[in-house]
Amino acid sequence: MSDATRPRDSALIANRRRFQGLRAASPWLAVLAVAVLLPWLFYDYAHGRQNSFMISMFSQMGMMVIFALAFNMLMGEAGLMSFGHAAFFGFGGYCVAHFLNAAAEGDFPVPLELMPLAAGLSGLALAIVFGSLATKQRSTAFAMITFGIGQLMATAALMFQHFFGGESGVSTDRQSTYSLLGIDYAQGLEVYYLIVAWALIAALGMHYLTGTPLGRMVNACRDNHERAQFMGYNPRMVRFLQFALSGFFAGTGGGLYAITYEIVTYDAVNLPLSGNALLMAYIGGVGTFTGPVLGAVLITAMQSGVSLMSNSWVIYVGTLFIVMVTFAPAGLTGIIKAHAPLARAGRLGRLVVPYLRLTTPGLMVVLGFVCLVEMLSFLTIGAAEGKKFNVLGLSPDLHASPPWLIVAACLSIGAIWLRREARLFHRVWDTLMADLGPAGNR
């Protein structure tokens, strides 16, 4: 009897495993499907062509997802803050630009599809060199050393003509090498799909790493560096390995950058890009794997979208960042995760009214702040560029006081109101959490 049931049991187990595998794979497949279909949502059917602005934005998102995830391998997984991570991204980019130029002369017969891998290996090599130095330290000293490394690369990029091409950068042509798939990569869409493929491969690789013994030890060294040492591990070695691998993935992203734009300038190694990775990872949430992905998509969209309308997007992103650091250190995904226990208990509905009450004062604060920033920046920068001030179809005289008074009143009333509502919200939140009991705080 028992012999007869065994095959059925094992078939059941195999079935369950398959089901679990499917469940694990489903978010990846969903992301892949969305990424593949996304450009066709913005397809210009009237003219029968792709929307090139959207394609280039999505391509940028893809690279930034890789870069932010690579950055989070240090920040989130290892608790190491790198302020010079663009060094590896940019180095990968410069290397691919040179590889492509070498391929044009027949010296480097690597297909375009594998160029990001070559970029990753370049990033890995640089990360091994700099990592052996930076990982001697951790926490703040590590942050300072990486900052120095980033500055070193940025300064060197302007100085050495041969490798970095000075201020004009290194230009290249992605069609100078052959393709494994027979695609000529003349269209932005084809490059976008290459980026999607590599972003998925890199993300899968980084996700896989989080579950490996190394990934676990990296977390252990982040949480308690001394206990990890007592267990017989060398935290420095663990940091070094993670740093090198992170450099690999950052380099991959940089390679895609070179392939997409066909020019790499020192912007690709400079501090603002390193800062961007930090903003993306932190705003998205460093505590989860999906956080940096969300952050990269969101910030790139903001960057592309807001910079079309206003030239002070830096101040909005900076303010958003500071607000997140102060009030929601777990990032956007952290906020979402905090709702999970309530969702499990089916009590999410009780938050609807408090949330709705937050929206009006919240909108007032945002509107007041945006108007204030725009008015200020118009007075000095916009006016010099000969633009006309225009908010919500109104163009008030900014040299008179009424618009300033209205905006200041909107901002301050909104802020006071928001504080009151936030206190109320906290009370509701705390009671709901207390009702859930210890089970809810899992």
């Binding site: 803050m81 703040t140 050495f160 650091v325």
Partner: protein, 315 residues
């Protein structure tokens, strides 16, 4: 000889300016564990404030008002920003100041415009102090040296001879013990943070018209100040001083030095030119390598002395 002496004086002035920024940063960092990324931004604000005050009142009023304003801003940042973030650890504080860098830079561009402002040396100091081998030494440089030396002396006296200095010094190494003895350590933190920002503001007042006052001045000096702090070692003002002067001298001398690495080997009969990357590194004039030197020095010192020149502890 003339170049040597001139570079020496200029390097000293630059080094003292660096120390004015780095001393505050080191004090803040050693005490609170907060690496204030926005420190150079405060320096920039100091220069702009001084420009505004000098337009309406006078340079001398700016010399007092601008550092005070910067100190107040520092206190506000500490009380309303950093304390709130402190709950989520040092990383959050560091990131908070990192975000401030972007905001302050953009704000400066919004308020004062993107072009450099004409912040001039005051007329009463715009004369030649003495001539040295035919080269004029402007009085303003002498004034800068005087101010920074005065600042150095004052800081030293405050730290060594006053009660608050004693508490600050103790809190530098044993913050928990100082708190246990009943001192208001958070207040000490605020004072140190505000004091450091005021010093940065003062550096801005006297540095703004020596260099140019524009929205890029924080980016130009900020990284160097970090290098100085790392190079000097954490928790050591003496190390910070040595590092500042070293960086000042190294950078000034590099600019005036001619020749390249390959010219060192030339007397030996090697010709290390050539149109390759290595050839370029070797033949690049030292004057152009200047901006790179601080980072190379920092990496070297970290390689041989991971704690910095005089550092007594890890971060």
């Amino acid at each position: 000889m003339q170049i040597l002496l001139g570079s020496l004086l200029n390097g000293l002035i630059y080094g003292m300016l660096l120390f004015m920024l780095a001393s505050g940063l080191t004090l803040i960092f050693s005490m609170m564990g907060v690496l204030n990324f926005a420190h150079a931004s405060i320096y920039m604000l100091g220069a702009y404030f001084a420009y505004d005050v000098s337009r309406y009142i006078s340079f001398w009023a700016g010399l007092i008002i601008a550092p005070l304003a910067c100190g107040l801003i520092g206190a506000a940042i500490e009380v309303w920003g950093l304390r709130r973030c402190h709950r989520s650890g040092h990383a959050a504080e560091l990131l908070f100041t990192f975000g401030l860098v972007f905001i302050i830079q953009r704000l400066v561009m919004m308020v004062w415009g993107t072009l450099p402002v004409p912040y001039q040396v005051p007329g009463s100091l715009n004369f030649t102090l003495f001539a040295l081998y035919g080269q004029n030494f402007p009085a303003y440089r002498g004034f800068m040296l005087l101010v920074s030396a005065g600042m150095l002396l004052t800081t030293w006296l405050v730290l060594k001879k006053t009660r608050i200095g004693l508490i600050i010094q103790a809190a530098l190494t044993h913050p928990n013990m100082v708190a246990a003895l009943g001192h208001d350590v958070p207040l000490v933190f605020t004072i140190v943070f505000a004091g450091g920002c005021a010093l940065a503001g003062l550096a801005g007042v006297i540095g703004g018209n020596y260099f140019t006052t524009d929205s890029g001045m924080a980016d130009a000096l900020g990284p160097i100040v970090f290098v100085v702090v790392v190079f000097g070692g954490l928790g050591s003002l003496v190390g910070c001083f040595i590092a500042s002067i070293t960086m000042g001298l190294v950078q000034t001398f590099a600019v005036t030095a001619n020749g390249s690495i390959s010219s060192l080997f030339a007397p030996l009969g090697f010709d290390l030119g050539g149109d390759t990357l290595l050839g370029e590194i070797l033949t690049l004039p030292i004057a152009r390598i200047g901006p790179l030197l601080p980072y190379i020095l920092m990496i070297l010192i970290l390689f041989f002395r991971p704690r910095g020149l005089m550092g007594t502890r890890d971060a």
